[in-house]
């Protein structure tokens, strides 16, 4: 009986969240007409996440290069280091780690912001001023989030492979030849790898923003409710990212 209750509660929540997603999507044209609002949110969500994404990207690239070099050197294949780093970053780590960081940095702050706006009657206040909060507040954030995620993942990949990470450790420190580092990437990596990576980061972006905005908008209007919304945003988004990553990868490697 209890299990049945939990399942029906879960399904109810899922249905409510799906309706919320459709409402947000329906409000997207309204957000497109207000580019200033979207630009503000792109700054809040995207630009302010840049540093953490760039630094994480560099370190992950460096670690991949160290680990990859050790194994490759045993077979005298250290010139293939570039492509190892690039595959790892572009296919998996770029989208997944960026999305996890994005959930922690931008998702949590979105949920807290919207939850607090609800708790302090700002959303009701807007409704009473005949301004639809979904169009004015939610849709611009959703749009900015799904634009920002693929861009951040791309920056993560650039930092990890070229600018700092793998290149710095592999070429500058461990002495892999610069030319072969890049030419291996060039010949090993196909445009569809990059395309699939962008699809992943787009899907993760939709998922994280959807979860964050839903949690904030449906938070109980108390301090406990806001804190719970923030926590569940990070927890649910992280699990969703990893599960979605598995599903997408399975489809892409069929």
């Amino acid at each position: 009986m209890r299990l049945l209750g939990i399942i029906s509660e879960f399904l109810r929540g899922l249905g409510e969240a799906t309706l919320f997603l459709f409402t947000m999507i329906a409000a997207l044209p309204a957000a497109l007409l207000r580019p200033r609002l979207v630009a503000q949110q792109l700054y809040m969500i995207g630009v302010l996440s840049l540093i953490i994404v760039a630094i994480s990207g560099s370190f992950i690239g460096m670690v991949l290069a160290l680990q990859g070099y050790r194994t490759l050197a045993q077979f005298g294949a250290s010139s293939a280091l570039g492509v190892v780093v690039a595959f790892g970053v572009i296919r998996e780590l770029g989208p997944v780690v960026t999305a996890l960081l994005f959930a922690g940095r931008a998702g949590s702050s979105l949920a807290a912001e919207i939850g607090l706006m609800k708790a302090t009657d700002q959303l009701s206040g807007m409704e009473m001023m005949a301004v639809d909060p979904i169009k004015r507040v939610i849709a611009p954030r959703f749009l900015a989030g799904i634009i920002a995620m693929p861009l951040l993942a791309s920056i993560f990949a650039l930092m990890a492979i070229g600018v700092a990470g793998g290149h710095l450790v592999g070429v500058e420190v461990l002495g892999v030849d610069d030319g072969s580092y890049w030419s291996q990437i060039h010949s090993g990596l196909h445009p569809h790898d990059i395309f699939e990576s962008l699809i992943k980061s787009f899907v993760f972006g939709v998922a994280v923003n959807w979860i964050a905005l839903y949690q904030g908008y449906h938070a109980a209007p108390t301090s406990e409710g806001v804190s719970r919304a923030t926590t569940s945003t990070v927890v649910v988004s992280s699990l969703a990212i990893l599960a979605l990553d598995f599903i997408l990868t399975a489809f892409m490697f069929r």
Binding site: T120, Q122, G125, M126, M128, M129, A130, V131
Partner: protein, 273 residues
């Protein structure tokens, strides 16, 4: 003096509303006369704020109707409802100012959302509204930099920015010092006259509210206990109204929240049985 016909802006009929098992309104009729300040008074928890949300169409009653200027609020489509709301202003208890905008931008918000006025004109209108509430000097401050009383005055300026027909005040005096209370009272009265508004004032500050209103309702237990001019309410003989007006702790509205068990039985537990 029960107002009739065209003189009524908001007409509530046989309103029933409940949160789950908790009945808030159990068949309530209220008329808000046009151009007047009408007070809705009652003990905390009687759903005075709920009434405002029902009039604004944010919540839906289980049965009964709310008409605003002849239109049934709960039978409108979303866009029609938003059109109606442009003619209503609401002042929330905490002001509900947008915390990421300055005082100026808060007042400009409804104008920017609903009009195509050029920036220079919006600026003039906003400064005039802020001057009316005495806060032109605070235009560049953010909501966290001003006091609670000032927030309410800003919210008031914002509520009247679109020149609405109706302004609803939700507990405007709660937690205010005597000076800012006096300021708010005078503002509510003078704005009502100057802008030709209709005002609904929800509060439990009996004396203050009665002194500035033209008509008053007393609500408790889901029913209208009494209504009439402030004078008629003040001299009411009804024991419940008297308890409320005189602030008696116990009476028809009991001091004790209803308990399931007798006090002695509760204390002594099974030993009493």
């Amino acid at each position: 003096m029960t107002p009739t016909g065209q003189e009524i802006l908001v007409r509530v009929r046989d309103l029933r509303f409940a949160f789950g098992p908790r009945v808030i309104y159990d068949g309530v009729d209220i008329d808000i006369p046009r151009g007047k300040v009408t007070a809705i008074m009652g003990p905390s928890g009687t759903g005075k704020t709920t009434l405002l949300r029902l009039i604004g169409g944010q919540w839906r009653p289980q049965s009964g109707t709310v008409e605003f200027d002849g239109a049934d609020v709960h039978k409108q489509s979303r866009s029609q409802l938003f059109e109606l709301r442009k003619r209503m202003g609401m002042l929330f208890q905490n002001g509900a100012l947008l915390t990421d905008l300055t005082v100026f931008e808060n007042v400009a918000f409804p104008l920017r959302e609903h009009s195509d006025l050029p920036d220079s004109m919006i600026r003039d209108v906003v400064l005039m509204k802020l001057e009316a509430v005495g806060l032109r000097g605070a235009a560049d401050l953010y909501p966290e930099q001003i006091s609670g009383g000032m927030s309410r005055r800003v919210a008031l300026a914002r509520a009247v920015a679109l020149e609405p027909a109706l302004v609803m005040y939700d507990e405007p005096f709660t937690g205010q010092d005597p000076i800012s209370m006096g300021v708010l009272m005078r503002l509510i009265r003078t704005l009502n006259e100057a802008l030709g508004l209709t005002s609904i004032l929800v509060s439990h500050d009996v004396e203050e509210v009665l002194s500035i209103s033209d008509y008053a309702y007393v609500i408790a237990g889901g029913k209208v206990l009494a209504h009439g001019t402030p004078e008629a309410i003040r001299t009411s003989e009804s024991p419940m109204v008297r308890q409320f007006l005189d602030g008696k702790p116990d009476g028809p509205v009991p001091f004790h929240y209803k308990a399931a068990r007798d006090y002695a039985a509760d204390l002594l537990g099974d030993a009493a049985a």
